[in-house]
């Protein structure tokens, strides 16, 4: 019970500050009563209530009281510590006290905002304040722990977000490891034909940046590679990457492309080609791939499947083919990590009534992107599945898998704009063809976006406001024969409409990567309800995550168009650059420590630490915490059967005190009852 006896209670001088937060708190909680109540606590020497404690004057109140009244502990009852803990710690420090001799009572988020019952809210507030007072007297001064930042950075994902971030950092003189799962960088942007609303060629603006990445000495480019493990913490991550065997010796390969050309094995390209074009078994996704070395796809390679062929080996002028090549494990240290793992397109097969996969002339948006792309399977000609016929009428269906509670409830943000782009491209490629856009709402926020919409209105696109119910080849009326009939309610006319067309394009929405969940676990961070990576704060920290030193950029955080993605790539890079230039960061001193002289060496705690921060000393037969590795979760503290592990700032004493504090009123009732007997 020694832990319980250390109470320095009597000699502490606590100052309590109850914030009105305008009417946010004072509107529901009787702040005056709460302050008066706090004053009764024997430890409290000053108890005030003030309009806005977070204002500079509010903070000065604290600073002055510390100096003039000789306060030794501070309690602020206001909002969530996640909002202003830092603010008041700093005020406490400016007043001359150690910042950790401060405690916060959350009477706004957990109090005034959570109920309309004023009386109950006030009682709860008193309880929380009292808990804070009882707790703070047991606080001990703590010093933040400096951690040095390794200047190297890991960037996962070689799409436009990852490319931007990599170049920003590399050009600032910092080393970057850029890890890409596919054989080349470029991501979805490399598949796209034109970009809205400016209609400049996607490849033309992307490939130069890809080349820069390939040539920059500060960038170690690891394509056809995946991160296997991530150890450590901000400033000091240890990364293991699996460099998958592409069966091509990079040092020898000259990217001449002979192997690709001569390879007899054609394969439908479901990745870059969106399933609408073919590639070879040894291939580069596209001519401007970076790096230029091909990848040998073992599943489809005749040699790997039948043991015969080896044509690529024979034709390679530099003998760069190596069928025996093995996966390679690379291990390196970085200080920060940027995740730019991008998105998956919604799979339109999930909506059977749209017929994708059954009705040949229903195309997915990515299929169309590839088709209309000059480097695509039809060299940019818009044709039906038969490969020759040009459609005379095209329907473009918005919100496929988006804004739909059966699939994804959110809006995918880019579909309206790219659907407009499609409409334009059809007009451009097939003059005279009829184009119908079926939309729920036309969402075109962004520079020049609404103007683009107006342009399409002028180009004669038929805009039908209504969610498509079904797409069928079952003709019912004359004129529907051998057509795809798009059935929808035209909500502007208020009537059902059957539109016969030759071709349908489904504007599939954006969704989280199928493996986002595993990736988030690998990097020890969280996903949101829809599977996208969680940002630290939706407004104020959009590229930071809950895990220090790990940042996110682009569509892995949520649907985004190219400009937003590029912006986030840059933002993440500058966050990292900031940390690198700081050199060290101060880490919360909330850490566990073992009182070795009292440790019996039972070793219960040894396996509990997820960061392997607990080591066992055979010599002394005691366990020890490696402070730098400890993240302060306190699991070992709770588990230690002899209570010899202390969790700084969350000690048993502090929690027990808070516990008794917040239950003051119940305690009073009970004692009253007892005395009654």
């Amino acid at each position: 019970m020694t832990d319980m006896k250390k109470s320095p209670t009597e000699q502490e001088r606590v100052g309590v500050y109850v914030c009105h937060c305008g009417s946010n708190i004072a509107g529901t909680i009787d702040v005056d009563e709460v302050a008066k109540f706090a004053e009764k606590n024997p430890n409290v020497v000053v108890s005030r209530n003030y309009e806005f404690m977070c204002s500079s004057t509010g903070q000065e109140l604290i600073e002055n009281d510390i100096k003039e009244q000789g306060l030794s502990r501070i309690v602020v009852a206001s909002c969530s510590p996640h909002m202003h803990e830092k603010t008041f710690r700093e005020a406490t420090e400016r007043g001359g006290l150690n910042p950790f001799l401060y405690e916060m009572a959350n009477i706004r988020e957990h109090g005034s905002w959570a109920t309309n019952d004023k009386e109950a809210a006030t009682i709860k507030a008193k309880a929380l304040v009292n808990g804070a007072i009882e707790r703070v007297v047991h606080h001990a001064p703590l010093e933040k722990i400096p951690v040095s930042i390794n200047p190297n950075t890991l960037i996962v994902g070689g799409g436009i977000a990852g490319i931007t971030a990599a170049l920003e950092l590399a050009e600032a003189g910092h080393h970057v490891y850029l890890v890409e799962r596919d054989g080349t960088i470029g991501g979805h942007m490399a598949q796209i034909d034109k970009t809205f609303p400016t209609l400049d060629c996607s490849a033309c603006i992307l490939t130069p940046k890809m080349v820069d990445v390939g040539q920059n000495d500060n960038i170690t480019l690891l394509t056809y590679s995946e991160v296997e493990s991530v150890e450590g913490y901000i400033g000091n991550f240890n990364i293991t990457v699996r460099k998958k065997a592409r069966c091509v010796i990079e040092d020898l390969c000259t990217s001449c492309g002979d192997c690709e050309e001569k390879c007899p094995q054609k394969v439908v390209d479901n990745d870059y080609g969106a399933g609408i074009s073919t590639r070879k078994a040894i291939y580069r996704s596209f001519p401007q791939a970076v790096p230029g070395y091909p990848v040998l796809d073992k599943e489809n390679c005749t040699y790997f499947q039948t043991g015969k062929c080896k044509i690529c080996e024979q034709v390679c002028p530099t003998h760069a083919i190596d069928y025996e090549q093995k996966d390679e494990m690379l291990n390196f240290d970085v200080g920060n990590i940027i995740l730019a793992t991008g998105y998956d397109l919604f799979d339109a097969r999930k909506i059977p009534q749209y017929g994708y996969g059954r009705l040949p002339n229903v195309f997915s948006s990515m299929e169309f992107e590839r088709m209309v792309n000059a480097s695509g399977p039809t060299s940019g000609h818009i044709v039906l599945r038969d490969g020759v016929t040009h459609p005379k009428s095209v329907a473009i269906v918005h919100c496929v898998g988006s804004r739909d509670q059966n699939y994804n409830e959110y809006c995918s943000k880019v579909c309206c704009m790219y659907s407009l782009k499609f409409a334009h491209l059809v007009h451009e490629h097939l003059p005279g063809a009829e184009v119908y856009n079926f939309y729920i709402d036309m969402r075109t926020p962004g520079k020049g976006y609404e103007e683009f919409y107006h342009r399409l209105l002028k180009e004669g696109t038929h805009f039908v406001r209504g969610r498509v119910a079904e797409i069928t080849d079952a003709d019912r009326n004359p004129g529907e024969e051998n057509k795809l009939i798009v059935q929808a309610e035209n909500t502007l006319l208020g009537q059902q409409q059957r539109t016969p067309v030759d071709m349908v394009i489904l504007s599939a929405g954006i969704q989280a990567r199928h493996d986002a969940e595993e990736v988030s676990k690998l990097f020890k961070m969280g996903c949101d309800y829809d599977g996208f990576f969680n940002e630290r704060h939706p407004k104020l920290a959009p590229v930071a995550t809950m895990t220090d030193g790990i940042f996110i950029a682009g569509a892995c955080q949520g649907p985004k168009d190219i400009p937003d993605t590029v912006a986030q790539g840059g933002a993440a890079a500058s966050q990292v650059a900031k940390l690198i230039s700081q050199g060290t960061v101060m880490m919360e001193p909330v850490r566990a420590s073992i009182r070795e002289d009292e440790c019996s060496g039972c070793r219960i705690c040894n396996t509990l630490c997820p960061y392997n921060a607990i080591e066992y000393d055979e010599e002394k037969d005691v366990s020890r915490v490696i402070t730098a590795l400890c993240q302060g979760c306190g699991t070992c503290v709770a588990a230690c059967p002899s209570s010899v592990i202390d969790g700084a700032h969350f000690t048993n004493t502090q929690v027990f005190a808070e516990l008794k504090g917040i239950l003051w009123d119940v305690q009073e009732e009970i004692t009253a009852k007892q005395e009654a007997i």
Binding site: R349, Y356, R385, D386, T472, A474
Partner: protein, 321 residues
């Protein structure tokens, strides 16, 4: 395997062949159907919309009886309307306590009571495709229905609404397709498979009904179906009995037999003709059935996909779980 069985009015008369064929295929599949004793009408499609409380009470009585005679917690209804009514009532009684209280009073008057959720209402198609399963069915196939082109028609009630948890996709059901496939028949992709047959519109607004029926028949004919397989007496009646009316009204010449999928199962199981009730249909199935061959057809796609050499690849459909 024991199942409670709720035939519903039509199974006794116009859908006799559905009833007998169901009983016939049940035996080899090891299903024992135990008819609910003293069951009453389910109220059909309209009543529930006209007079709610009595309608719910009417259906609840059947559920109560089934639960009371508890030979099995599963209650199978071959008729889509009966199925939907039973399932819907059980579902809403669980959700809506106020409704339940009222219904309880009605049941109590008849000395009955029912705790929603105790009975698991199934349509016959679910029983066969999910519980029994394709392998068991395949095992019974003695005379495959080779070269018989069948349009599977589900109607609008069975897979809907999905909110009550459907055993098949509400927009594009496939469970009957799969059964017909294992029977050896050539199943045609029938886009209107889950659309309405007109129901009682035949009595209320004949033109509406005839148009709906026409669509179904036309689409089946366009895709060269030899026959349409149904799983609902109402659908069968509308498509079969009104074919002449449709032809007269639209000047069409449809002659598409409408049979129950259980009849085809019986045929493939090589069960005695008399139990399967062929011949009771108005548009005779004989000519169509004559097309059945001993030889399996060459595997070819149900719809052509342009000339292979220049055509673009189709998206690969993910295999069904």
């Amino acid at each position: 395997m024991k199942y409670g069985y709720y035939p519903g009015c039509s199974m006794e008369k116009n859908a006799r062949s559905y009833h007998t064929s169901t009983m016939a295929v049940a035996k080899p599949l090891g299903i024992e159907f135990i008819e609910v004793d003293d069951w009453n009408c389910c109220g059909a499609t309209e009543y529930i919309a006209i007079n709610k409380i009595p309608a719910y009470a009417l259906v609840s009585r059947n559920l109560a009886l089934a639960a009371d005679q508890n030979d099995s917690e599963n209650l199978v209804a071959p008729c889509s309307a009966c199925f939907l009514n039973l399932k819907k009532v059980d579902h809403y009684l669980q959700e809506n306590t106020e409704l339940k209280e009222k219904v309880d009073i009605a049941l109590d008057a008849g000395g009955l009571s029912y705790e929603p959720g105790t009975i698991n209402v199934q349509h016959l198609l679910e029983t066969l495709s999910v519980d029994i399963g394709l392998d068991a069915i395949k095992a019974q196939v003695k005379k495959p229905l080779y070269n018989l082109r069948v349009a599977p028609y589900y109607g609008c009630l069975v897979p809907r609404p999905a909110t009550m948890g459907s055993f098949d996709d509400p927009e594009h059901p496939t469970s009957m397709d799969k059964i017909l496939e294992v029977l050896g028949a050539t199943v045609i992709d029938y886009p209107l498979k889950a659309q309405c047959c007109g129901g009682h519109m035949t009595q209320i607004s004949e033109n509406t009904a005839l148009e709906l029926i026409r669509r179904l028949l036309k689409n089946a004919q366009d895709s060269e179906a030899d026959m349409i397989a149904t799983l609902c007496p109402m659908c069968q009646l509308n498509l079969d009995a009104y074919q002449d009316a449709v032809n007269a009204h639209f000047g069409t010449k449809f002659k598409i037999p409408i049979v129950y999928f259980t009849q085809l199962m019986g045929l493939a199981f090589d069960l005695p003709e008399n139990e399967l009730g062929f011949g009771k249909e108005i548009v005779s199935a004989k000519p169509a059935l004559a097309k059945i061959t001993e030889q399996a057809p060459k595997p070819k796609r149900t719809r052509e996909r342009g000339k292979k050499n220049v055509g673009l690849p189709m998206p690969i459909m993910a295999e069904e779980g």
